[in-house]
Amino acid sequence: MEKEKVVEVNELTKKFGDFTAVDHISFDVYKGEIFGFLGANGAGKTTAMKMLIGISNPTSGEARVSHFDVHHQAEEVKKNIGYMSQKFSMYDDLTIRENIKFFGGIYGLSRKHIKEKTANLIEELQLQEVADSLVGSLPLGWKQKLAFMVSLLHEPRIVFLDEPTGGVDPITRRQFWELIYAEANKGTTIFVTTHYMDEAEYCDRVSIMVEGKIEALDTPKKLKQSFKTDSMNGVFLKLARNVE
């Protein structure tokens, strides 16, 4: 059975002057897959991700996300994906309820739909008692779990998570990953970056970028076998060390 491709990347390249930040990368990501997008600081991850979410134009090559071309249909791409990052997730000075309403509106949901979604979400995350508190007053871990659910309000095929668990306590980090698993189980594709190498093990497949190129892409199990090491940390250190 041919699996549906939710991300198709072909020779995607981005140059800033003489510097090639992303250098002819090609890969596919399938429906319901948890895809780990790893790389050292400065390897070109963020630049690549910005192209995939339609906020930066490629210099050459092409990419389709959720069946839309990231260059020529950037607006469609933005409407059909979910996105959350560690740095910006929600408005601290709005309440939980207000944030959900705001993002529901941005994603073009009807009022009725927003109402339903809000009720479901608050119940699922057991936030009944704090639903009318400011998001800024929540612990970071709660905020991140909520931000993840909010990024899925419009039921996108794919959600991009940019270091979603940085600084989050270890228990909440695992609860967060259970939400990710549950969502992938429903068929949503998860595209995630992280600096926690144990989280790389939770992914179905992992790519590792080194100096603008994808140097490795496979299941964690096969990567560990081919690099003859017993952890993803080992794979990462071996790949990145070869550069120097």
């Binding site: 050292a40 600081n41 940085g166 306590d169 600096h195 926690y196 993803m232 940390n233 990462f236 990145a240």
Partner: protein, 304 residues
Amino acid sequence: MSISIKNISKSYKKLKALDDVSLEIEQGELFGLIGPDGAGKTTLFRILTTLLFADEGTASVAGYDVVKEYKSIRRSVGYMPGKFSLYQDLSVEENLNFFATIFGTTIEENYDLIKDIYLQIEPFKDRRAGKLSGGMKQKLALSCALIHKPKVLFLDEPTTGVDPVSRKEFWEMLKRLREKGISILVSTPYMDEAALCDRIALIQGGKILRVDTPENIIEKHPKQIYNVRSRETYRLIQDLKDYPGSENVFAFGEFIHFTSSEETFEPQELQEYLLEKKHEELEIYPANASVEDVFMDLASSSET
């Protein structure tokens, strides 16, 4: 004693950031403060570096009281805050010169101490600090915190958001500094870095959960952990949670770490239960605890 903290508490309005914290850190020790965001790490750093008053308790650094002798402390410590706080529009060399000058010294006088680290960024000494990569900024910030030859070095989350390769290099630099007799208090949210410290304190919600060497923390952990793996991780987590006597079920790399609250727990019975649930490629075997296991166990029992 390099740092002595006695019964320190600090609140911001209703939020108790530090709750009766006591710690002793010895001369020449590399001491790790391990805990997530919001645990109180930065508040403790700010009290020890005399930037914030505690509500209760006392503390001394390098023999000086943090309230009465704050000026002496400021001259004898180096502080690298979590947020990059050098002058973005000064060059690498200008930043270093600036910090040397305000501490009444020169780059040449203490060059030995920073040589190792500074050599790596010297090729870029005319570049503005704001234009450096993350790894280079970190090295410059460390050089600036060291240029006046401090007795105690405070590093607040120096490796947060940094990739594993740069993190490894950074810890190697810290070990070399410790050999020069500088006491180092370093905080981190990465539990795997705990093993690199002489001693660690686990902190969450403003409370110290435990203080010991990383080896002792692991050895004294009373619970037997089992590594469990099957082909379907998500379903495995759900099924393990439903198992009678299930206590902790935490994803750990390619395995699930499982502990049971039953004294009569038999892995064989768990295996039968999971086979009945049609799990394929099933593996169950005893595993050693890590600092992260201990942290999660202490954190979940302190909440209830």
